[in-house]
Protein backbone atom coordinates (compact mmCIF):
# COMPACT_ATOMS: atom_id res chain seq x y z
CA UNK A 1 0.00 0.00 0.00
CA UNK A 2 2.74 2.42 1.00
CA UNK A 3 4.60 1.66 -2.18
CA UNK A 4 1.49 2.35 -4.19
CA UNK A 5 1.06 5.75 -2.46
CA UNK A 6 4.73 6.64 -2.84
CA UNK A 7 4.63 5.87 -6.54
CA UNK A 8 1.27 7.52 -7.14
CA UNK A 9 1.40 10.63 -9.30
CA UNK A 10 -1.93 11.87 -7.94
CA UNK A 11 -1.92 11.06 -4.23
CA UNK A 12 0.30 13.90 -2.98
CA UNK A 13 -1.27 16.53 -5.21
CA UNK A 14 -4.75 15.36 -4.24
CA UNK A 15 -3.87 15.78 -0.54
CA UNK A 16 -2.56 19.31 -1.24
CA UNK A 17 -5.52 20.40 -3.36
CA UNK A 18 -8.10 18.67 -1.16
CA UNK A 19 -6.80 20.19 2.08
CA UNK A 20 -6.54 23.59 0.39
CA UNK A 21 -10.21 23.50 -0.64
CA UNK A 22 -11.29 22.17 2.75
CA UNK A 23 -9.39 24.91 4.59
CA UNK A 24 -10.92 27.52 2.29
CA UNK A 25 -14.44 26.26 3.07
CA UNK A 26 -13.67 26.27 6.80
CA UNK A 27 -12.14 29.74 6.61
CA UNK A 28 -15.27 31.14 4.96
CA UNK A 29 -17.38 29.50 7.63
CA UNK A 30 -15.39 30.51 10.73
CA UNK A 31 -13.76 33.68 9.39
CA UNK A 32 -10.41 33.30 11.12
CA UNK A 33 -7.03 33.98 9.47
CA UNK A 34 -5.59 30.94 11.26
CA UNK A 35 -7.46 28.73 8.82
CA UNK A 36 -5.19 30.01 6.07
CA UNK A 37 -5.59 27.56 3.14
CA UNK A 38 -1.94 27.81 2.12
CA UNK A 39 -0.70 27.13 5.64
CA UNK A 40 -3.18 24.30 6.25
CA UNK A 41 -2.52 22.66 2.91
CA UNK A 42 1.26 22.80 3.46
CA UNK A 43 0.97 21.50 7.03
CA UNK A 44 -1.44 18.68 6.13
CA UNK A 45 0.69 17.62 3.16
CA UNK A 46 3.88 17.55 5.26
CA UNK A 47 2.06 15.66 8.03
CA UNK A 48 0.67 13.05 5.63
CA UNK A 49 4.09 12.60 4.01
CA UNK A 50 5.77 12.27 7.41
CA UNK A 51 3.17 9.80 8.72
CA UNK A 52 3.50 7.71 5.59
CA UNK A 53 7.30 7.83 5.80
CA UNK A 54 7.49 9.51 2.39
CA UNK A 55 10.02 12.16 1.41
CA UNK A 56 9.72 15.33 -0.63
CA UNK A 57 11.10 13.61 -3.69
CA UNK A 58 8.27 11.10 -3.85
CA UNK A 59 5.73 13.90 -3.34
CA UNK A 60 7.30 15.70 -6.26
CA UNK A 61 6.52 12.82 -8.67
CA UNK A 62 3.11 14.52 -8.87
CA UNK A 63 3.90 17.92 -7.35
CA UNK A 64 6.21 18.85 -10.19
CA UNK A 65 3.20 19.03 -12.53
CA UNK A 66 1.67 21.71 -10.33
CA UNK A 67 5.01 23.52 -10.43
CA UNK A 68 5.01 23.23 -14.21
CA UNK A 69 2.04 25.59 -14.44
CA UNK A 70 3.52 28.20 -12.11
CA UNK A 71 5.37 30.12 -14.84
CA UNK A 72 2.37 30.31 -17.24
CA UNK A 73 0.15 31.34 -14.29
CA UNK A 74 2.64 34.03 -13.25
CA UNK A 75 2.65 35.33 -16.84
CA UNK A 76 -1.15 35.66 -16.61
CA UNK A 77 -0.83 38.15 -13.74
CA UNK A 78 -0.32 40.62 -16.60
CA UNK A 79 -4.09 40.35 -17.24
CA UNK A 80 -5.34 42.01 -14.01
CA UNK A 81 -2.43 44.43 -14.34
CA UNK A 82 -3.65 45.42 -17.81
CA UNK A 83 -7.28 45.67 -16.68
CA UNK A 84 -6.35 47.92 -13.76
CA UNK A 85 -3.77 50.02 -15.59
CA UNK A 86 -5.83 53.24 -15.50
CA UNK A 87 -6.12 53.09 -11.72
CA UNK A 88 -2.44 52.29 -11.58
CA UNK A 89 -1.38 55.27 -13.69
CA UNK A 90 -3.48 57.59 -11.55
CA UNK A 91 -1.62 56.41 -8.44
CA UNK A 92 1.76 55.83 -10.05
CA UNK A 93 3.73 58.09 -7.68
CA UNK A 94 2.14 56.67 -4.53
CA UNK A 95 2.72 53.10 -5.73
CA UNK A 96 6.36 53.62 -6.69
CA UNK A 97 7.25 55.48 -3.48
CA UNK A 98 5.39 52.81 -1.48
CA UNK A 99 7.31 49.97 -3.09
CA UNK A 100 10.70 51.71 -2.72
CA UNK A 101 10.03 52.58 0.94
CA UNK A 102 9.05 48.95 1.59
CA UNK A 103 12.13 47.59 -0.10
CA UNK A 104 14.48 49.90 1.79
CA UNK A 105 12.67 49.02 5.03
CA UNK A 106 13.24 45.35 4.26
CA UNK A 107 16.99 45.82 3.75
CA UNK A 108 17.39 48.13 6.77
CA UNK A 109 15.34 45.94 9.13
CA UNK A 110 17.43 42.92 8.14
CA UNK A 111 20.67 44.87 8.62
CA UNK A 112 19.60 46.04 12.08
CA UNK A 113 18.52 42.57 13.20
CA UNK A 114 21.63 40.99 11.72
CA UNK A 115 23.71 43.40 13.83
CA UNK A 116 21.67 42.81 16.99
CA UNK A 117 21.62 39.02 16.68
CA UNK A 118 25.22 38.84 15.44
CA UNK A 119 24.58 37.20 12.07
CA UNK A 120 27.61 36.22 10.03
CA UNK A 121 28.04 38.05 6.70
CA UNK A 122 26.74 34.95 4.90
CA UNK A 123 23.64 34.78 7.09
CA UNK A 124 23.01 38.50 6.58
CA UNK A 125 23.09 38.30 2.78
CA UNK A 126 20.97 35.12 2.90
CA UNK A 127 18.12 37.23 4.32
CA UNK A 128 18.46 40.29 2.04
CA UNK A 129 16.25 38.89 -0.78
CA UNK A 130 13.63 37.46 1.61
CA UNK A 131 10.68 39.62 0.52
CA UNK A 132 10.82 38.87 -3.20
CA UNK A 133 9.60 35.98 -5.30
CA UNK A 134 11.54 32.72 -4.87
CA UNK A 135 13.00 32.46 -8.36
CA UNK A 136 14.55 35.95 -8.23
CA UNK A 137 15.46 35.74 -4.54
CA UNK A 138 17.37 32.49 -4.91
CA UNK A 139 19.33 33.93 -7.84
CA UNK A 140 20.19 37.08 -5.89
CA UNK A 141 21.20 35.06 -2.82
CA UNK A 142 23.55 32.95 -4.92
CA UNK A 143 25.10 36.03 -6.49
CA UNK A 144 25.86 37.76 -3.19
CA UNK A 145 27.07 34.59 -1.47
CA UNK A 146 24.12 33.59 0.73
CA UNK A 147 22.95 30.11 1.74
CA UNK A 148 20.59 29.48 -1.17
CA UNK A 149 18.53 26.75 0.51
CA UNK A 150 17.94 28.90 3.59
CA UNK A 151 16.95 31.87 1.40
CA UNK A 152 14.37 29.68 -0.37
CA UNK A 153 12.95 28.53 2.97
CA UNK A 154 12.86 32.05 4.43
CA UNK A 155 11.12 33.40 1.31
CA UNK A 156 8.37 30.78 1.59
CA UNK A 157 7.90 31.45 5.32
CA UNK A 158 7.76 35.20 4.63
CA UNK A 159 5.07 34.64 2.01
CA UNK A 160 2.89 32.39 4.16
CA UNK A 161 3.28 34.78 7.10
CA UNK A 162 2.34 37.82 5.00
CA UNK A 163 -0.65 35.93 3.65
CA UNK A 164 -1.85 35.18 7.20
CA UNK A 165 -1.23 38.52 8.94
CA UNK A 166 -2.29 40.92 6.13
CA UNK A 167 -5.94 41.38 7.07
CA UNK A 168 -5.07 41.94 10.74
CA UNK A 169 -2.33 44.47 9.92
CA UNK A 170 -4.62 46.38 7.53
CA UNK A 171 -7.29 46.66 10.19
CA UNK A 172 -4.87 47.61 12.95
CA UNK A 173 -3.09 50.32 10.94
CA UNK A 174 -6.14 51.52 8.98
CA UNK A 175 -4.69 50.61 5.59
CA UNK A 176 -7.96 50.77 3.66
CA UNK A 177 -7.10 51.86 0.12
CA UNK A 178 -7.08 48.84 -2.23
CA UNK A 179 -3.98 50.29 -3.93
CA UNK A 180 -2.11 50.57 -0.61
CA UNK A 181 -3.12 47.02 0.37
CA UNK A 182 -1.81 45.72 -2.95
CA UNK A 183 1.53 47.50 -2.50
CA UNK A 184 1.86 46.23 1.08
CA UNK A 185 1.17 42.60 0.14
CA UNK A 186 3.26 42.47 -3.02
CA UNK A 187 6.25 44.31 -1.52
CA UNK A 188 6.35 42.39 1.77
CA UNK A 189 5.38 38.89 0.69
CA UNK A 190 5.67 38.45 -3.08
CA UNK A 191 3.50 35.91 -4.98
CA UNK A 192 2.15 34.31 -1.80
CA UNK A 193 0.98 37.76 -0.69
CA UNK A 194 -0.47 38.36 -4.15
CA UNK A 195 -2.67 35.29 -3.70
CA UNK A 196 -4.18 37.01 -0.66
CA UNK A 197 -4.41 40.30 -2.60
CA UNK A 198 -6.36 38.61 -5.42
CA UNK A 199 -8.71 37.28 -2.75
CA UNK A 200 -9.29 40.82 -1.43
CA UNK A 201 -10.08 42.32 -4.84
CA UNK A 202 -9.05 42.93 -8.45
CA UNK A 203 -7.26 46.19 -7.74
CA UNK A 204 -5.39 44.69 -4.79
CA UNK A 205 -4.33 41.74 -6.96
CA UNK A 206 -3.15 43.83 -9.89
CA UNK A 207 -1.16 46.29 -7.76
CA UNK A 208 0.32 43.42 -5.77
CA UNK A 209 1.50 41.73 -9.00
CA UNK A 210 3.08 45.00 -10.08
CA UNK A 211 4.79 45.32 -6.69
CA UNK A 212 6.21 41.80 -6.94
CA UNK A 213 7.76 42.58 -10.33
CA UNK A 214 9.07 46.01 -9.31
CA UNK A 215 10.42 45.00 -5.89
CA UNK A 216 12.00 41.90 -7.45
CA UNK A 217 13.80 43.84 -10.16
CA UNK A 218 14.95 46.56 -7.75
CA UNK A 219 16.29 43.95 -5.35
CA UNK A 220 18.45 42.56 -8.16
CA UNK A 221 20.07 46.00 -8.32
CA UNK A 222 20.14 47.04 -4.65
CA UNK A 223 20.81 43.81 -2.73
CA UNK A 224 24.46 43.61 -3.94
CA UNK A 225 24.96 47.20 -2.68
CA UNK A 226 23.43 46.43 0.75
CA UNK A 227 25.54 43.27 0.90
CA UNK A 228 28.58 45.52 1.48
CA UNK A 229 27.13 47.08 4.65
CA UNK A 230 27.98 44.20 6.97
Amino acid sequence: MKEMLTNSVFFGVFISVGSYILADILKNKFKTPLLNPLLISTAVTIAVLALGGMDYESYQTGGKYLNYFLTPATVCLAIPLYEQFEKLKKNAAAIMIGIISGMLTSFCSILVMALIMKFSHEEYVTFLPKSITTAIGVGVSEEIGGYVGVTAAVIVITGILGNIIAEGIFKLFHINEPVARGVALGTSSHILGTVKALELGETEGAISSLSVVTAGLMTVIFAPIFANFM
Binding site: L38, N67, A184
Partner: protein
Protein backbone atom coordinates in the same frame (compact mmCIF):
# COMPACT_ATOMS: atom_id res chain seq x y z
CA UNK B 1 -10.47 25.14 -29.16
CA UNK B 2 -10.92 28.55 -27.48
CA UNK B 3 -9.15 27.54 -24.28
CA UNK B 4 -6.47 25.66 -26.16
CA UNK B 5 -5.66 28.67 -28.35
CA UNK B 6 -5.43 30.87 -25.28
CA UNK B 7 -3.21 28.35 -23.55
CA UNK B 8 -1.02 28.23 -26.66
CA UNK B 9 -0.44 31.99 -26.49
CA UNK B 10 0.33 31.85 -22.76
CA UNK B 11 2.76 28.97 -23.31
CA UNK B 12 4.49 30.85 -26.15
CA UNK B 13 5.06 33.84 -23.87
CA UNK B 14 6.28 31.55 -21.07
CA UNK B 15 8.74 30.03 -23.53
CA UNK B 16 10.05 33.45 -24.61
CA UNK B 17 10.46 34.28 -20.92
CA UNK B 18 12.42 31.06 -20.49
CA UNK B 19 14.64 32.00 -23.45
CA UNK B 20 15.32 35.47 -22.01
CA UNK B 21 16.16 33.87 -18.66
CA UNK B 22 18.65 31.56 -20.38
CA UNK B 23 20.24 34.22 -22.60
CA UNK B 24 20.43 37.24 -20.28
CA UNK B 25 22.89 37.04 -17.36
CA UNK B 26 20.37 38.24 -14.74
CA UNK B 27 18.70 36.26 -11.91
CA UNK B 28 15.25 37.08 -13.31
CA UNK B 29 12.88 34.12 -13.76
CA UNK B 30 10.89 33.33 -16.91
CA UNK B 31 7.58 34.28 -15.25
CA UNK B 32 8.71 37.84 -14.52
CA UNK B 33 9.91 38.40 -18.09
CA UNK B 34 6.57 36.88 -19.14
CA UNK B 35 4.43 39.31 -17.08
CA UNK B 36 6.24 42.29 -18.58
CA UNK B 37 6.02 40.84 -22.11
CA UNK B 38 2.32 39.93 -21.97
CA UNK B 39 1.53 43.33 -20.43
CA UNK B 40 3.32 45.14 -23.29
CA UNK B 41 1.57 42.95 -25.89
CA UNK B 42 -1.84 43.69 -24.33
CA UNK B 43 -1.16 47.40 -23.95
CA UNK B 44 0.01 47.73 -27.58
CA UNK B 45 -3.03 45.65 -28.72
CA UNK B 46 -0.80 43.09 -30.42
CA UNK B 47 -2.71 40.56 -28.31
CA UNK B 48 -6.34 41.27 -27.46
CA UNK B 49 -7.54 40.63 -23.94
CA UNK B 50 -10.13 38.18 -25.33
CA UNK B 51 -7.30 36.08 -26.74
CA UNK B 52 -6.01 35.09 -23.27
CA UNK B 53 -8.69 36.05 -20.75
CA UNK B 54 -10.52 32.82 -19.83
CA UNK B 55 -7.52 30.51 -19.67
CA UNK B 56 -5.56 33.27 -17.96
CA UNK B 57 -8.16 33.66 -15.26
CA UNK B 58 -8.37 29.88 -14.85
CA UNK B 59 -4.59 29.69 -14.28
CA UNK B 60 -4.71 32.58 -11.80
CA UNK B 61 -7.60 30.89 -10.00
CA UNK B 62 -5.65 27.66 -9.41
CA UNK B 63 -2.30 29.40 -8.85
CA UNK B 64 -2.48 29.29 -5.01
CA UNK B 65 -2.26 25.50 -5.07
CA UNK B 66 0.81 25.64 -7.33
CA UNK B 67 2.60 27.37 -4.45
CA UNK B 68 2.04 24.45 -2.08
CA UNK B 69 4.86 22.19 -3.42
CA UNK B 70 7.57 24.85 -2.87
CA UNK B 71 6.18 25.34 0.65
CA UNK B 72 6.21 21.58 1.30
CA UNK B 73 9.87 21.65 0.30
CA UNK B 74 10.47 23.37 3.65
CA UNK B 75 10.63 19.84 5.11
CA UNK B 76 13.88 19.31 3.20
CA UNK B 77 15.45 22.50 4.64
CA UNK B 78 14.51 21.82 8.26
CA UNK B 79 17.85 20.13 8.93
CA UNK B 80 19.85 23.20 7.85
CA UNK B 81 17.62 25.76 9.55
CA UNK B 82 16.97 23.95 12.85
CA UNK B 83 20.15 24.93 14.80
CA UNK B 84 19.51 28.65 14.17
CA UNK B 85 15.74 28.53 14.03
CA UNK B 86 14.95 31.10 16.75
CA UNK B 87 16.98 33.99 15.35
CA UNK B 88 15.92 33.18 11.79
CA UNK B 89 12.26 33.19 12.77
CA UNK B 90 12.61 36.49 14.67
CA UNK B 91 14.37 38.14 11.71
CA UNK B 92 11.75 36.85 9.26
CA UNK B 93 8.69 37.77 11.32
CA UNK B 94 9.86 41.25 12.35
CA UNK B 95 11.04 42.25 8.89
CA UNK B 96 7.88 40.97 7.14
CA UNK B 97 5.58 42.85 9.53
CA UNK B 98 7.58 46.09 9.37
CA UNK B 99 7.78 46.04 5.55
CA UNK B 100 4.05 45.44 5.21
CA UNK B 101 3.19 48.29 7.59
CA UNK B 102 5.65 50.82 6.11
CA UNK B 103 4.88 50.19 2.42
CA UNK B 104 1.13 50.13 3.11
CA UNK B 105 1.08 53.28 5.25
CA UNK B 106 3.34 55.25 2.89
CA UNK B 107 1.13 54.43 -0.11
CA UNK B 108 -2.06 55.07 1.85
CA UNK B 109 -0.67 58.37 3.14
CA UNK B 110 0.23 59.69 -0.30
CA UNK B 111 -3.16 58.70 -1.75
CA UNK B 112 -4.97 60.44 1.13
CA UNK B 113 -2.84 63.58 0.75
CA UNK B 114 -3.65 63.72 -2.96
CA UNK B 115 -7.37 63.23 -2.34
CA UNK B 116 -7.28 65.98 0.25
CA UNK B 117 -5.38 68.35 -2.06
CA UNK B 118 -7.91 67.64 -4.80
CA UNK B 119 -10.96 68.30 -2.67
CA UNK B 120 -9.60 71.61 -1.39
Amino acid sequence: MKYLKQFGIILAISFIGELLNAVLPLPIPAGIYGIVLLFILLETKVIKLEAVRETGNLLIDIMPVMLVPPAVELMDYWGIVKPQVLKYVIATVVSTIVVMIVSGLVTEGIIRLRKKAKSE
